[in-house]
């Protein structure tokens, strides 16, 4: 039974109510390795049914993974009880009306067919390609989404995703590379591992750096993660309508470097495409920043109703509803540089950052984010990547960092943005490497390596 068929069965169990059933199914495997051995291999099979029941404008939600008739009947009872317990909400936008979902890519037969032996084999390919001990994983998954509602929604999508994460590391040296995509052919585990090992060799003998503000080149993994943390709040409509986020009062204004353009585009085949959101609204490409001007944020049905707008198809799963609509498919416009090394030439002197670690938002209104660099931090001297640095503590205002971008690389790459908590829902960002005039280093931490 596919996800839509299961959703329709759940809907029938809620007979007599206005309802929406959402199904997320997962068939995935992850061969996680450390010190070049698989140590946490995990195979997951699950089907989760969420039932939303609306009674007199009151919404109740229940979920379960028992999908037999008794399980679905019990689910409908719990969702109904939840609806009965909620006060009426005059701002409830109702369930989405049926609309045609866009046709998107995102499913690959080869990726869908991968089994445990394949996942182990591809992990082995990565491990054998690294001269240094390798840490990371190879994973692949098949995610099924299905939505059926009494308003006539009948949507389904099968998504595949594959990813390899490679951290080549020994005592005092570490390098990082990752690849992700929806096609098996999008990733080359051996290539990623070899790149990580090459990077690691350059990190031996890392030295400290005096705190201060430096020009910097951020590789795509570093820039994408920083942008994602900023974007959780800044590019969603909830913070805007509540008049508390960075975007409040800035839509329509030039706030970033004119070389910076950003969209949320789940329809782009270069990313991890989605056809609809968790309310069943068709996904739209939303231009967030055009030539440095903040143009819009992403919307779901609730925030759109409050602001007199239309949903752009960015409702999150119900477990993340407190965030409001989320930009799960950020896509940064490319620049003119051929490579990150060319960006280093552009800035002359500064620092080079491969990857970030443990980010935290210090001040969402100002867009201040702190975190650490890791697995490939270097000084840039005379336009060249030079001596390795220990991991640096940074505390940056992301808007200030984006205010002067001397360059971006031409081709954005897809970065995995899924830590695989809860139900699998592949997400990623398309990002180039960037050069920024200002990256605020506020301390030093441990050296590279394990």
């Amino acid at each position: 039974m596919n996800a839509l068929e299961l959703a329709e069965r759940a809907l029938r169990a809620a007979e007599g109510d206005e309802a929406l059933a959402l199904v997320q199914s997962e068939r995935s495997g992850m061969a996680r390795f450390a010190a070049s051995e698989v140590h946490q291999p995990t195979l997951i099979e699950n089907d989760v049914v969420e039932l939303q029941i609306v009674r007199d404008g009151r919404l109740g939600i229940a979920s379960a993974n028992r999908t037999d008739a008794d399980g679905l009947k019990a689910l409908a009872i719990r969702a109904g009880e939840a609806a009965d317990s909620a006060p009426a909400d005059p701002d409830f936008p109702g369930l989405a009306a049926p609309a045609e979902a866009p046709s998107v890519d995102g499913f690959d037969e080869e990726a869908a067919a991968l089994g445990a032996e394949d996942q182990a084999r591809l992990a082995a390919a990565a491990i054998s390609a690294s001269e240094l001990d390798l840490y990371g994983f190879f994973t692949s998954g098949l995610t099924g989404l299905g939505i059926a509602s009494t308003t006539g929604l009948a949507l389904s999508q099968e998504l595949t995703d594959v990813a390899v994460l490679a951290l080549a590391a020994v005592d005092g040296a570490s390098g990082y590379a990752e690849q992700t995509g929806w096609r098996l052919g999008d990733v080359d585990p051996a290539g990623a591992a070899a790149a990580a090992a090459e990077k690691a060799k350059l990190t031996r003998g890392a030295v400290e750096l005096e705190p201060g503000s430096y020009p910097a080149v951020l590789e795509p993994p570093a820039f994408a993660e920083l942008l994602a943390y900023f974007g959780f709040d800044a590019f969603g409509a909830l913070g805007l309508v509540e008049e508390r986020s960075y975007a409040f009062g800035k839509v329509g204004r030039q706030v970033f470097d004119e070389r910076f353009s950003l969209a949320d585009d789940a329809l782009d085949s270069r990313g991890l495409p989605k056809a609809f959101d968790f309310e069943g609204t068709a996904k739209q490409r939303v231009e967030l920043v055009r030539d440095g001007v903040l143009t819009d944020v992403v919307w779901d049905r609730g925030t759109a109703r409050r602001a007199g707008r239309e949903s752009t198809g960015h409702a999150p799963p119900s477990s993340l509803r407190s965030w409001g609509p989320l930009a799960f498919a950020l896509s940064v416009g490319g620049g003119e540089a051929d490579s990150a090394e060319h960006l280093a030439e552009t800035i002359g002197d500064g620092i080079y950052v491969t990857r970030l670690h443990y980010l935290s938002v210090v001040d969402p209104r100002e867009g201040i984010v702190t975190g650490m660099t890791r697995d490939g931090t270097f000084r840039i001297r005379g336009g060249r990547i030079a001596d390795p640095l220990v991991n640096l503590r940074f505390t940056v205002s992301v808007p200030q960092l984006l205010a002067e971008l001397p360059g971006l690389t031409r081709e954005p790459v897809l970065l995995n943005h899924n830590a695989y908590y809860d139900e699998r829902y592949p997400t990623g960002l398309l990002s180039p490497a960037v050069a920024t005039a200002r990256f605020d280093v506020t301390g030093v931490g441990s050296g590279p390596g394990v």
């Binding site: 061969a31 450390a34 070049s36 698989v38 939600i61 840490y135 935290s360 908590y421 441990s446």
Partner: protein, 507 residues
């Protein structure tokens, strides 16, 4: 209403008979037999060791925001996870079907995955007596007997009490969870445990003139939880505390920014709990020390040979791992390898005295027998996780700590947190701070952060307040592992004082 806090106390036996009843309308499930079937199937397929965990969990979340119901969710999940060793290699697979077919399928797939796993593989497990026993959370009032409408009403009343003209966003939430877990291993262990959790919290977010400030109670990031019945949520007195929280959020808009520079800080119990979590709990997880989290959560500045000799902090620093703490989210009778719970010192008078271990990592250092393995659901493999990790109390009151400060700041309630991959360099922000001058609290301050290097920071600890100030708080958002796993852990701490700490990140 009494203020309900789990005061500092030693473990007491809370083992009881479980009372899991088959759900109405469902077939009676012999869950233990399913686990035994899974283990037998795995052994038959070539495993040298196997264990199976069947979990049935129900959780409820009620959340309101700006006096509208934002979440009213009731989730159930169930399934079986099977872990095997084949030729020294681990394998893990799971199945949502609590049926013979699902249990056997998970076992066979786990074996197949282990057989295919690349690597040298020679893993041993520390010897333990096969455990047999049961556990049940002591509950005064079953949280699932409390009508959802009452939970909604509690949140809305608390929100109403948060209102202030400068407060832009009010929110309140309560949660409840019931989990039944059965574990069987090929060594003969068989345990049956039933856990009940509850929690809640409120937030007020004030915004004006481009400044946004937040205050939370009883903790940031979703409030605080405990392994207890609904009486814990009632004891939080969310509605009673709300006016103060709303007023403080508004007052922060007009407060001065916290000054920067090295100074003495007094840190409240809640922020100390996070400080312990990040800078002691994670680095002492022995799997991190051995590098198995290197690619994601990170490693540790500690080495196995540091045990018993490394100076972690001053003589005032005493840290204990205690999975028997009443009310702790990390409290159990047996961990997810079937190892009995035991209270163990981690840091004693500033010296590293213990690691958090699994049977595998304990065997590698030839010390201990595990006891800290936990999985966040039936679909995840157990990892070394914190249970309940406490900063042991010292002497005196919070006022005594403050009285000993000529110039400094008092820091309350976490706002931001970050620490490097080896758990050395950290930076925390707090929601509110207070100037200390001449041993007394002064003006309110906003946007406070402090930073340090773990052993240097703990070395500057010069006092911990006494047992009367000790509080236990539970958090539900500790992330680790790939695929990701959330852990629910508790920490107890009293306020503490540190000298010469770098406050602020701006020069």
């Amino acid at each position: 209403m009494r203020v309900y806090q789990f005061r500092h106390q030693r473990a007491r036996a809370i083992v009881a008979t479980p009372s899991i009843e088959p759900r109405a309308g469902s077939k009676v499930r012999a869950v233990r037999e399913l686990c035994e079937h899974a283990v037998a199937t795995a052994l038959g397929a070539g495993a040298s060791y196997a264990d199976a965990r069947a979990v049935v969990r129900r959780s409820q979340v009620v959340g309101t925001r700006n006096r509208r119901v934002e979440r009213l969710d009731d989730a159930e999940t169930e399934g079986i996870g099977v872990r095997v060793l084949v030729g020294g290699a681990w394998g893990f697979a799971c199945d949502r079907r609590l049926e013979q077919e699902g249990a056997a399928a998970a076992a066979r797939k786990a074996v197949a995955f282990a057989q295919a796993a690349p690597g040298g593989h020679s893993r041993g497990l520390a010897a333990v007596e096969p455990a047999h026993g049961e556990f049940r959370t002591v509950v005064e009032r079953d949280p699932f007997s409390v009508p959802l409408a009452d939970k909604v009403d509690l949140c809305l009343r608390a929100e109403e009490a948060l209102l202030h003209e400068d407060v832009q966003v009010t929110s309140a939430s309560v949660r409840a969870q019931h989990e039944h877990k059965v574990f069987v291993s090929s060594e003969g262990a068989a345990t049956d445990q039933e856990f009940v959790e509850c929690g809640g919290g409120i937030d007020a977010l004030a915004s004006s003139d481009g400044i946004t400030q937040i205050r939370s109670y009883p903790s940031a990031h979703g409030g605080s939880s405990a392994q207890a019945g609904w009486e814990f949520v009632e004891s939080l007195a969310l509605e009673r505390e709300a006016p103060r929280i709303g007023e403080e959020a508004a007052a922060l808009l007009r407060a001065d920014p916290c000054p920067s520079g090295p100074m003495t800080v007094v840190i409240d119990a809640e922020q100390m709990e996070l400080q312990v979590h990040e800078s002691v709990g994670h680095p002492t997880e022995l799997d991190r020390v051995f590098g198995t989290e290197a690619a994601y959560a990170g490693t540790s500045f500690l080495r196995p040979e540091d045990l018993g000799s490394l100076r972690y902090g001053s003589e005032h620093m005493n840290i204990t791992a205690d999975p028997t703490t009443p009310g702790g989210l990390g409290t159990f009778a047996f961990d997810d390898e079937g190892v009995p719970a035991a209270r163990e010192p981690v840091v004693r008078e500033g010296i590293l005295s213990g690691f958090l271990t699994s049977r595998e990592t304990a065997a590698r250092i030839g010390s201990g027998a595990g006891g800290s393995m936990r999985a966040d659901s039936w679909s995840r493999m157990p990892l070394v996780r914190m249970t309940n990790l406490h900063l042991e109390p010292g002497e005196g009151s919070l006022d005594d700590l403050i009285a000993g400060v000529d110039e400094g700041v008092f820091l309350q309630t976490n706002k931001s947190w970050s620490i490097d991959d080896k758990r050395l360099n950290f930076q925390f922000g707090t929601q509110i701070a207070w100037e200390i001058k001449g041993g007394r609290l002064g003006r309110m301050l906003r946007d406070a952060t402090y930073t340090g290097q773990t052993p240097v920071f703990w070395g500057s600890l010069d006092a911990v307040a006494g047992p009367e100030e000790w509080k236990l708080a539970g958090l539900t958002n500790c992330g680790k592992g790939q695929p990701g796993q959330h852990a629910h852990v508790s920490h107890g701490a009293s306020p503490a004082r540190f000298r010469n700490v770098q406050v602020g990140f701006r020069a």
